[in-house]
Subunit: 221 residues, 2 copies
Amino acid sequence: MTRDDEVTDVLALLAAGDLAAFARLADDAAHAPELRARITLSRMASAGLAPLESLEAYAVAQGTDPEVFDDRIWQLREILADFDARTTPRDWWERLVRTYIGYGVAYELEYIVARDLDASSAAVAEPSLGDDGLGVYVVDVLAPVIQAEPQLGARLALWGRRVVGEALEVANRLLLASPALVRAAGVTPRGARVEVEDLAPLMGQLTSGHARRMARLGLTS
Amino acid sequence: MTRDDEVTDVLALLAAGDLAAFARLADDAAHAPELRARITLSRMASAGLAPLESLEAYAVAQGTDPEVFDDRIWQLREILADFDARTTPRDWWERLVRTYIGYGVAYELEYIVARDLDASSAAVAEPSLGDDGLGVYVVDVLAPVIQAEPQLGARLALWGRRVVGEALEVANRLLLASPALVRAAGVTPRGARVEVEDLAPLMGQLTSGHARRMARLGLTS
C-alpha cells in the first residue's frame, strides 16, 4: 500500500527518467558513427517518450496539482542530468557503456520504488518500466568488439567503474531528495531523517544488478 | 516527371532533414528553461521522425540499393549538420530563432525539390513535408517577447541575418552536391556543371520565404 505522496514522487521519477533517457539517447544518436545506429537510437529515444502523457494525466486525475507534479519532475530531472554532466565519454564505446550503465541503474531503481504501487498506479507506471531494447542493443553491438579487443575491454571496465560510481551517487541523491521515494522503496530510516547509511542495502542491490549487466558485456565490474 | 535518381535524392534529402530536425529539436528540448517547453519540443522531435521508415521502405521497393540510399542520406545529413555547428546560440531566444529559421529554409527547399514528384513518390514524401507545429510554437512563444523587448528584438534580428546566411550557404552546398536535386528543383544549369549562379533564383525564393517568416516574429530580415 502506498501513500499519495509516494505515488506522486514515483510517477514524477518515472516521468523525469523518461525525459532524461530521451535526451541521452537523442544525444547518443547525434554522435552515432553511422546511419543505422543513428536511426535505431533516435527511434528508441522517441519510443521511450510515449508513456509521459499518461503519467501526467493519471497524476492529475488522482488529485496531484499539475504545477506541483511539474516541479517534482523538474527537480528530479535536474539530479538525473548531473549523471550525464559528470560522465563525458571520450569515444563511441564509452558513450554506449555510459548509457547502458546509467539506463540499467535508473531502470532498477525505478523498478524498486514502483514495486508496491497499487494496481491502477502500477498499470500507468508499467510502460515506463518496459524494456525499450537498449540493453540488448548495446550488448549485441559491444560484446563482440570487447571480446575481439581485450585492451578496449580493459579500458571500458575501468570506465564502467567510474560511471557506475556516478550513477549510484545520483541514485543516492534522488532518494535523499525525496523521503516519499525512500518509503516507496520499502526502506525504513533508523532516525528521523533519511541518512546515507539507511540506503546502503538498496545501493548493494543496485550494485549487484550492475555487476550482472557488466558480465553480459563480458566485463568485470 | 522526375527521373529515378531525382526521386532517390529527394527522398534521401527528406530523410536526412527528418534526422537533422530530430537532433536539433531534441537538443533544443535538452536546453529548454522549463518543463512544458522541454516536453513540447521532445514530442515534436519524436513526431518528426515517424516518416523515416516509409521513406526508406519506398526507396528500396523502387529499386534503390539500401546501401546507396543510406550513403546518400548520410552525405546530405553531414551537410545539414554544418548549419548547427556554425550557428551556436548564446541563449534560449537565439536557439529558438536558429531552429525556426533553419527549419523554415529546409522545409521550403524540401518543398521545392519535391514539387514535381510522381504521385506515389509524392504520397511518401508528404508526411516529411507536413507541418509539425514548430513554426507556430516559436511564433507563439517569441513574438510577444520581442514586442515587449525591442532591444532583444534588435539583437535577434541581427542574429537572424547571420543564421539565414548559414542556412542559405547549406542549401547551396546541398544542391551543388547533387545535380539530381537541382534538376528536381526545376533548375537548368547554363553550363555542363551546376554553378552557384544557376542557383541564384532559387536562393531568391528561399530568401523571400525567410523574410515572410521573420515578419511573423515581428522582425525585419
